[in-house]
Symmetry: C3
Amino acid sequence: MHALMERLYPICRSLTGNGVRQTLAILREYLPALRVHEVPSGTPALDWTVPAEWNIRDAWVKNAAGERVIDFRQHNLHILQYSTPVHGWFSRQELEDHLFSLPEQPHLIPYRTSYYQPNWGFCLSHQQRQQLQDEYYEVCIDSTLDEHGTLTYGELVLAGTSEEEVLLSCHCCHPSLANDNLSGLVVATFLARELARTPRRYTYRFVFVPGTIGSIVWLSRHQDTVGLIRHGLVLTLLGGAGHFTYKQSRRATAEVDRAMALVLRDAQVPHALRPWLPYGYDERQYCSPGFNLPVGCFSRTPFGEFAEYHTSADNLDFVAPEQLAESLSVLEALCLTLESNRTYRNLQPYGEPQLGRRGLYKGVGGGQEGADWQLALLWVLNLSDGQHSLLAIAEQAALPVPLLHRAAVALEGVGLLHAS
Amino acid sequence: MHALMERLYPICRSLTGNGVRQTLAILREYLPALRVHEVPSGTPALDWTVPAEWNIRDAWVKNAAGERVIDFRQHNLHILQYSTPVHGWFSRQELEDHLFSLPEQPHLIPYRTSYYQPNWGFCLSHQQRQQLQDEYYEVCIDSTLDEHGTLTYGELVLAGTSEEEVLLSCHCCHPSLANDNLSGLVVATFLARELARTPRRYTYRFVFVPGTIGSIVWLSRHQDTVGLIRHGLVLTLLGGAGHFTYKQSRRATAEVDRAMALVLRDAQVPHALRPWLPYGYDERQYCSPGFNLPVGCFSRTPFGEFAEYHTSADNLDFVAPEQLAESLSVLEALCLTLESNRTYRNLQPYGEPQLGRRGLYKGVGGGQEGADWQLALLWVLNLSDGQHSLLAIAEQAALPVPLLHRAAVALEGVGLLHAS
Amino acid sequence: MHALMERLYPICRSLTGNGVRQTLAILREYLPALRVHEVPSGTPALDWTVPAEWNIRDAWVKNAAGERVIDFRQHNLHILQYSTPVHGWFSRQELEDHLFSLPEQPHLIPYRTSYYQPNWGFCLSHQQRQQLQDEYYEVCIDSTLDEHGTLTYGELVLAGTSEEEVLLSCHCCHPSLANDNLSGLVVATFLARELARTPRRYTYRFVFVPGTIGSIVWLSRHQDTVGLIRHGLVLTLLGGAGHFTYKQSRRATAEVDRAMALVLRDAQVPHALRPWLPYGYDERQYCSPGFNLPVGCFSRTPFGEFAEYHTSADNLDFVAPEQLAESLSVLEALCLTLESNRTYRNLQPYGEPQLGRRGLYKGVGGGQEGADWQLALLWVLNLSDGQHSLLAIAEQAALPVPLLHRAAVALEGVGLLHAS
C-alpha cells in the first residue's frame, strides 16, 4: 500500500481539477471497475452548487533579485488551494496578507484552502517567511478557475447477492498529505480489491469524492437509492500512529456502530469509541438529518489531535506500512462481521439439545479454545430465539462474532439452527 | 435581598396568624400584584382540615423571684409553635416536660412545633435550661387558638403569552429563621420582580404558603388547573453556604429536572443532583401520586445537613448577600432555559446547508467562542428533526442552552429552521 | 442440617440407580409428602433419551500380590461414574488409559463421569497413581447397566392459595461430594419443612433430580404446566465458604432476579450478582429459549472457582453448619420477599394523607428505626400508583421489602391502601 501512496503523494489534488483525475486513473490500475464521474460546474447539488474547476500550472514569489523564494514546484502545499490567478509586484506589506505560516511549528508548511471566498495566497514555513526582507516581490500564480469545468469523483460498485449496500467513502481532494487522506484512499483500494475476490452478501459501494461538495454531489445524485445503504464508513487517517478511533454514526447504535465496537474489542488493540459529533469528515453529510444514514468514521488519531495534521509533516514518512496493514485488517474483520451477522432460530429450543450424539460436544480439543467453542455453541443455542443476532450474542457473551458464526454454521449443519 | 430579609426576620410567623399577614404585606411592597388569600379554619382540604388560627402576644417563665428566665420577647424561637394558652405555677419537674433544648449544641435555641397535637412548651438553650434550679416557676403563654380564624397565603400570577405555567413555591411559616425560609421568600420575590419586567412565554405562579397545610390548601383549590403546570420548583435554603442541591421531581426526567441539571452544569458551580425522595418540603404534596406534578426542590445545603438548621443560629449572619445573589442568578438562568427551550425542524435537512453564503460560517471570530458558535450551528441543524428540543441537544452536545438558542434564532433568521 | 448431610455423604449416587433411591428415602423422613418418580430407561425426553440404570457393587484394582491398590470400598469417587463392567488383567500401560488423577492436587481424588460414552475407569490421587509400579494389574468393576431400569427423581409440592408456583431445583446425582450438592439437598429440605409450616400464597415445588437429564425429564413431563412457574432457583454449593453468588436467569430482570438482589443487599452480606450464562447447572435447561423460565442459580463460591471442587476434598469438613444456616436464612428471606411483594394503590393520592390522626405519624419511637418507618410509609404512599410493586419501591427507596410490607399492611389497615 505504501508504494501506491508514493505514486499518489506528488499529485496536486484539489476539490476539482486534473489532480483528482490523475489520482483516480492510478486507482483504476488496481480497480478496473472503478467508474469516474464528471459533474459540470454550476450544477445544483442539494443546498450547494458545483464550483468552478481549478487547475494550477505554476506559482511563485520572486525577490528583487528574481530568485524564486516561494516555489510551488518545491511543494504542492505552498499554494493556497483555489488561489485565483495573479501576476504583479507587491510590497512586502501587501504580500504579508496573503501568506500563511505556523509560528508555533516554524519548520512546517501549513495546508490552507479558500474554496468559496475568492482569494490568493501562499503557505510557507515560518522560518522561510521570516527571511522575506525585501521591500517588493513579484508574485505569479498561473491558475485557472473554469466555470465550464467539472467536478470529478470515482465510484466502484461490487455487487453482492443482496442489493443492500455497504458504503465506504474517502475524500480525495487533499494534495501532498499522506495520512489525510492518501491513507484512506489506499486502504480503501486494497479493501475493495480483497472484497472483489470473495463471495459477498452485501453490495459494496466505494466512493472517492472531494470533501463536503463531493459527498453532497454524490448524495444529490443518489437520493432515491440511499435507502439501500445498511452500513457505512468514512475512511480517513489510517496510516499514522496512535490507536484506532471509531466515531459513531448519528444513530449511535446502528449495526455498523455495534459491529465496529466488537471488531475493535476482539482485535484486542487499544482503541476509542467516540460519540457522534456533527463536525468532521463526510459523515456530516451522510448523517445529516434528512438522510441519517448509518455511517460512522474510522480513523486512527483523529484530525486536529496530532501535530503533523494539515502540514508538510504529514508526509510519506509519517505513514507506516504496518499501520496501513493493521487498518486494513480491522476493516476486513468488520466486513466479515457484517457479512456473517444473521439472526437464527433454535429448532430444538426446549432444553439443551444433546450435542454429544451430534459430534459437537467437546468437538474441538481442550484448552481455552475448546472451552470457548463449547460456550459459543451454548450461547448461540440459548439466544437464538429469532430476536438476537449474532452481533447481539457477541455483545452479551463477550465472544467474537467469527467464533459465534462458526458455531452457528456447525449447528445449522446438524439441523439445530435455522437462519430467520 | 438581605435588607428585605432584615425586615422579615423579627416577625413571628407560624402556620397561621398575623405573622404571615405582616410578611405578605411587606412582600406586596415589592410585588404589588401579590394577592393574599384567607381560608377559614375548619375548611376541608384534600385529606386535611384547615387548623385554628394561632396568635401569640407574650410568653414567659418567671422564677420564684419574679424574673423572666425565659422570655418570648427575647426570641421568637422561645415558644413551642401552636402552644395552647397557659398561666400558672409549675414545679420544675412539671416544667421540664415542656422544655426543649439541644444538649449537643448547648448555646442554641431549637425550633419546635406542635401543630396538630395540643401542647404548650418553651424552647431554650441547654445552658439556659441548666440554670433553672428553682423548685417552682410561674408560666404564662398569652396565645389564642381561634377556631373561627383563617389560614393566610399569598399568590402572584405573572401571565405569559401561554397559559402553561411555571410554579414557584416557598413556605412562609417559619419564625425567626433566616435560611429556612426567609432566603426562599426573598429570592422568589426578586425573581418575580425580574420576571415581571421581561416578556414571558410561560405564566409564572408564585405561591407563598405555610408548609404542608398551605400547599395542600392551595392544591385543593386548584385541582382543576394544576394540569397547566409544566414546570415547578420549591425554593428553600438559598442563602446559606454550601453548594447547590437540586432534588428531582418524582418524574425524575421532567423538563425542569433536565433543565436544572443543565443550568447547574453550565454555571460551572459545584452542585449535586439528588433523586426524588417523598420527604422534605412541599414537593411532597405537589408530587403526591394523584398530582405527580413536575416540581423539584432547589436549595443549597439541604435541611438537616448543616448544624444551624432549625436553631437560633439560622440567623441573619448565616445568610450572605452574595449567596442569595448567586441563587437568584441560577434561577434566572433556569427560567431563561425553560423560556427558550423549543423543538425545531431543519428546513434543509439533506446534507449540510451552505452556511458561508448565508453569512453564518465563521460568523463570529476565532478562539473557543467562535468554535463553539460553529458547533452550536451544526448541532442545531443536525439534531433539529422535530424530535430533539434544544434541551436534548444541549445534553448531547454538552453546549449551553443559551448558545444553542442564539444559534437557533440565527438559523431561523436565514430560513433554515422552523420551530415545530 | 449437617447431621442429615452426614447420613447422605456415604451413599454412592449417580444419574440413576439405588444411590438416588436411598437418598430420596432419607429425605422423605423429613418431608413425608415427597413423591418419588421412576422413569423407564429408553423413555424419550425432549431431545434426549433416559439412559440405562447404572448400579455398582464393588470395584478394585489388585497388584501382582493380590492387594487392592485401588478400592471402591475406600471411597465412592474411586470409580469413574457409569463405568461398564470389566474383569481381567491389564498391563500398566493399558491401565493408565483408564486412570484419572490431578497432578496439581496430588493428594486428592478427582470426580469423573462418562455417562454417554461407554468407558470404564478409576479415579485416584496422583500420589497413589505414582505408586503403581507393577507390570500387570487385575481389574474388576462389578457394575450393571440395565436397559430396563429406571431414572429416579423426587418432587414435593406445597400447595399455596394460588396455583402460581415457585420452583426450587437441586441435583441429587453426585456421590460423596458434600458441597456439590448435598448442601443444596439439605438446605432445600429444611426450607421445604419450614415453608410447610407457614401459610403460603405461592405453591412451592421442590424437585430433586439428577443433573441435566433429570431436569430435562422433569421438563418433558411438565411442558403444559411450566407456565405456572413465576419464580425459580437452582440451589447448589450452599455449604462451603465464600460469599453468596446469585446468577441471574436468562430474563435478567425477572422478579426473582430483582428479589434476590434486594435480599442480598438488605442482608448486608458480601455477595456478587452475575449475569446469565448458558453454562452451569440445571438453570441451563429451565432457561433454554423454548421455556425461558425465570429461574436463577443461588450458590456460594461458584463451581470451578474453589480448589476442592469435584475432588475428595469436597467432604463433610468442607461444609460448615453456620454456612448452611446462613444460606437457609437468605432463602427464607427470599420466599418472604416473594410472598409479600404486591402492587398497591394509594386511595388518597392527592397530597399526603394526614397520618397523625390515623396514629401512623411517629407511630414507632425515635432513632433510625423510627425514621425508616416514617420513610417507608411515605414511600409506599408516594409510589403506590398501581404501577410500582413493593419490590420496585424497595429498589428506589433503598429500604427492605419486609419494612415496606409492614408499612403497606399498616396503611391498608387504616384504609389508605388497596392491593391492586
